[in-house]
Symmetry: C2
């Protein structure tokens, strides 16, 4: 999506270690108008997928997810991150290893809000190693639902998570796909 690619080129900053900082408009300070357009685009991509629910993970996935949910006219559920191993019987729980922060979180959702047979669209701001999507997919599996696909803002293709998940059969739509970021801060899209 050109709108997002142009904004990344304009305001994104490449940091050492494969980090792309987009926190001026995407995941700390947020351009609501841009995120609304991204959410609407994801809704267009998945309009025929009979989505029952959007599932994202706190915190930076929430904004694009609610705009997608608004456009699809379905509820939006966000998984909560939890350090605690003391997970109650009321929740589904899966592990997510964070590439950026180098730690492991549990992600949990209340069993009340994911159901057997539900068709779930996963939404997240970034796709890198794919750990977050694997965790969200596991929550849907525990509930007996079905993942109809994943809608992503920015995919860092060179980190391989998207390729692996597509090989396993997941339909993934990424609005900007970054092929390469070099040491001079240049960004190349697929």
């Amino acid at each position: 999506m050109k709108l997002l690619e142009d904004r990344i080129l304009k305001d994104g900053v490449v940091k050492a270690g494969g980090i792309l900082k987009v926190d001026s408009f995407f995941n700390h300070q947020m351009d609501a108008s841009l995120l609304n357009e991204l959410g609407k685009e994801l809704a267009r991509e998945f309009k025929d997928a009979r989505v029952d629910k959007v599932l994202t993970v706190e915190a930076s996935g929430i904004a694009m997810a609610v705009f997608a949910g608004l456009a699809l006219n379905v509820p939006v559920l966000f998984a909560k991150k939890s350090k605690s191993k003391n997970i109650s019987d009321d929740v589904y729980c899966a592990e997510v290893v964070s590439f950026t922060h180098g730690n492991t979180n549990n992600v949990v959702v209340s069993k009340q809000y994911l159901h057997e047979g539900e068709r779930v669209l996963l939404v997240d701001d970034f796709l890198a190693t794919g750990a977050a999507l694997v965790g969200l997919k596991e929550l849907v599996r525990q509930a007996g639902g079905e993942v109809v696909g994943a809608g992503i803002g920015i995919e860092k293709v060179f980190q391989g998570g998207g390729s692996k998940l597509r090989d396993e059969g997941m339909r993934i739509v990424s609005l900007a796909m970054i092929d390469n970021m070099d040491d001079n801060g240049n960004i190349t899209f697929c």
Copy 2:
């Protein structure tokens, strides 16, 4: 706002200890259409306040905040919660004591995104003891900005935070103001 009050009466659940569970539509699973209406209503209330930026706190404040930001056509910044005392020089930081979780978090925002002279609208899903608003206000103070008001989804008036902050001069608009919740689960609005 009748739309929100009606939804609270329909789907809210009163729990022991002054807890109102609204996680079926408001702060875990989210009705994007409802939150869009709430965000637009906050924007209408503050349309003459010359808002430069919306500031909220992760995670459940984000959805309503981005809808308010979209309607006001201003950027939305969310403060991040941090357990760490190891706060870098790049951020403003304030303490928030959580009533619900009985712990203390730091809330932090990058210094890049809050500036001297900026007119900031605080947005949050709940107002109870007022601890979150006090923390967000402190972030704006550190940056040399000005809080033009606070837009809240649900205020639990009986917990006193709103009254105290209004006495100190903060303009607060709460879309549902709960006067009382009794042991039988009855909810009374102001």
